[in-house]
């Protein structure tokens, strides 16, 4: 570091940025750091990881067959999504970006609706009552102030409820990230910000997104805690989010969790990552696969064997098959629906447009 002024100075604030990892690549867990998860929880986490990956693979193949539209894969990021969502109590409000299908699946979002949405049917984003998830936010980082506002709303209503917001490394460059973080810090709100740093914003590597050594440290400038976790370690992600939620519920302010992970797939099905990153880099991350790591851990604990793996894979495949069937057999949306939800009631002009739409024969 090169300083502008070389005269003696007194440090007035010092900061640390820490990284949490519990499960290493060989499948060894640090018992001192392990969150309290029973065997049933660990099996459930594994099954959700498999289900998420099965969904993801199917979505990509459906896109290739022209059966759904452009789709952003979560391959490699499953632990960040499943681990964080599994830590939620179900009372939180959740503001996702667009690459969190693993989070949706973990929270019990109907999978057929996800396929319907990515096939271009907006009814797939009609969040079922009882799930406080906000619709997918395609405009990068712009959901961050919404989460802040919901947390302000919870405080005004005196609801003891945390708000969770997901975004990616690209989002940390947006003005809404900085404005939202600033407000979260100023008002000391009950928020958990979860950034999946998958190291690529389409073609831009994190090193070109920011000059900072970590994304986690950006929270420190706004007066609250930021921590980096191994995003391919489902236990570390779970633990960090669980701790941050408890902290939020106790009124101790926001936390920023940077899940350090890797986007193994293209940005979306419309992208070709081979244009901007090396096969060697991707290959190096293959060994850090979050599912492989959990399998090794479970195998050592006697929780995993080939027949359990086969059974889990078959169950996931059945669920995905059924969801695709349901999505593809749903009657299509009526054209006039595009007007029906613009506002609570239609203007006279919108009524005419709607009538005209209903009278038009589409061939």
């Amino acid at each position: 570091m090169c300083y502008l002024i070389t005269m003696p100075r007194e440090p007035i604030a010092t900061f640390n940025v820490e990284r949490l990892r519990i499960l290493d690549e060989a499948g060894n867990a640090d018992d001192a750091l392990m969150p309290s998860l029973g065997e049933a929880d660990i099996r459930r986490l594994y099954e959700l990881l498999i289900l998420s990956r099965t969904f993801d693979k199917r979505a990509i193949s459906l896109q290739r067959e022209g059966r759904i539209g452009t789709y952003p894969s979560m391959l490699g990021q499953e632990a960040s999504q499943v681990g964080s969502a599994y830590a939620l109590a179900g009372t939180e409000w959740i503001f996702p970006s667009f690459r969190e299908m693993g989070m949706f699946i973990t929270l019990g979002y109907p999978i057929h609706l996800l396929f319907q949405y990515w096939a271009g049917d907006e009814r797939g984003l009609r969040i079922p009552d009882g799930l406080n998830i906000f619709p997918v936010c395609v405009s990068v980082g712009t959901q961050i102030p919404h989460a802040v506002g919901a947390a302000m709303g919870a405080r005004i209503r005196r609801d003891n409820r945390a708000v969770v917001c997901y975004f990616g490394d690209g989002g940390t460059s947006k003005g809404d990230f900085h404005e939202g973080f600033n407000l979260a810090g100023v008002f000391r709100l009950s928020l958990v910000f979860i950034c999946q740093n998958n190291q690529w914003a389409i073609s831009l590597p994190t090193g070109q997104q920011t000059a900072a050594a970590t994304l986690a440290q950006k929270a420190l400038a706004y007066g609250f805690e930021g921590v980096q976790v191994d995003g391919n370690d489902v236990f570390a992600v779970y633990r960090a989010v669980r701790d941050a939620l408890v902290k939020a519920e106790n009124g101790n302010g926001p936390t920023f969790i940077e899940c350090f992970t890797y986007r193994m797939a293209n940005h979306t099905t419309a992208d070709d990552a081979g244009r901007y990153r090396s096969a060697e880099e991707v290959e190096a991350w293959r060994g850090k696969d979050p599912i492989l790591r959990l399998e090794r851990f479970m195998s050592k604990k006697g929780l995993w064997n080939e027949s359990y793996a086969k059974e889990t894979a078959a169950k996931a495949l059945d669920a995905v098959d059924e969801a695709v069937h349901q999505a593809e057999n749903a009657p299509g949306p009526a054209p006039e629906e595009m007007l029906d939800y613009v506002t609570a009631s239609l203007s006279p002009r919108q009524k005419r447009q709607r009538d005209e739409m209903m009278q038009t024969e589409w061939t």
């Binding site: 969040i127 619709p135 712009t142 506002g149 407000l183 629906e337 006279p348």
Partner: protein, 320 residues
């Protein structure tokens, strides 16, 4: 009843609605301790506390973005953008989110949000303090745009805006803030959104205006058999009242201070041409600001439509 100016009338509306409904909260720059730079929210933080009258950091996108989050959470936030010229950083939040949340969620979530902002020319302030960019917001499906023209309708329209189930941009003409006093009743009266009012009846020509230009239109109409219509809501505008007046007079002059090209007058002219062209006896004329950025104080009188320019348009149109 009291004689109030528009600042006092809006303050009264906010106070009464906050007393009535604990979900109504104010947020924005300097709205709390300072009572707003125009004193519109004066005294409200003292009455309702800092949790409901929230001084925010200087960040327009976050003001609107957090207000959206509050609205979908179930509150009725009233966000203030200090001047319309500073609303542009929040444009993304308004257009990409406030306007679309009901639609995107297929009705699961709604965004009952009011964004108040001082608007228009004539207070000798620096650049960006005198903008009138209402047309941008009228182009956004899902957003209502309301412009009061006096203390009485400011209160009644604001109450309706706060109770509306969808987002409303509420544009407060700064020139009128302290210019006029009117009888403003205490207590609830709601002026419905989407309704215009005929301010002056006439038979030969219709002058359409809103906000501070309404008063110039009224002055210009003296000596003509002119009907003057105050739009009050620009989006959705009151087709019924406007078209009825066009059918009666057959002549239309539209007055607004925003630039000519793509101004809201263009939408009105197109709608009249589409629906009522056979009622017209002559061209639809627009008296507007020129296609130039709003000038500073020395030239602003040359920018704003004057009574003389409106009369010239009336004279021109009366030849048909």
């Amino acid at each position: 009843m009291a004689q109030l100016n528009m600042v006092q009338a809006i303050n009264l509306a906010l106070r009464e609605e906050m007393e009535l409904n604990p979900d109504v909260v104010l947020l924005g720059e300097d709205v709390g301790t300072d009572g707003g730079v125009f004193r519109v929210s004066e005294g409200l933080q003292g009455l309702f506390g800092a949790a409901r009258v929230i001084d925010t950091p200087l960040a327009e996108s976050a003001i609107v973005g957090t207000a959206i989050g509050m609205a979908i959470y179930g509150l009725r936030p009233v966000a203030e953008i200090q001047f319309m010229g500073f609303i542009y950083p929040a444009f993304d939040q308004i257009f990409s989110h406030a306007a679309r949340i009901r639609s995107r969620s297929r009705g699961r979530y709604s965004c009952p949000l009011v964004i108040r902002t001082p608007y228009g020319c004539g207070i000798k302030a620096p650049e960006f303090h005198e903008e009138s960019s209402e047309a941008f917001f009228c182009h956004m499906p899902g957003i209502k745009v309301v412009v009061p023209s006096g203390p009485y309708n400011a209160k009644g329209l604001l109450l309706s805006a706060i109770r509306d189930p969808d987002p409303v941009i509420f544009l407060e003409p700064t020139r009128l803030y302290r210019l006029i006093r009117e009888e403003v009743p205490d207590g609830e009266y709601l002026l419905p959104l989407g309704r215009a009012r005929v301010v002056r009846e006439g038979n030969s020509v219709t002058v359409m205006a809103w906000g501070s230009m309404l008063h110039r239109a009224m002055e210009a109409a003296e000596g003509y058999d002119a009907e003057v219509v105050d739009l009050m809501t620009l989006s959705p505008f009151d087709e019924e009242t406007l078209f009825a007046s066009v059918r009666k007079t057959g002549r239309v002059v539209i007055v607004h201070e925003a630039p000519h090209t793509g101004g809201f007058g263009a939408e009105l002219a197109a709608a009249i041409a589409e629906m009522e062209i056979l009622s017209l006896r002559g061209p639809i004329l627009r008296v507007t600001g020129p296609d130039a950025p709003v000038p500073l104080a020395k030239l602003v009188d040359h920018y704003l439509p004057s009574v003389e320019r409106i009369r010239k348009a009336l004279d021109e149109l009366m030849k048909y």
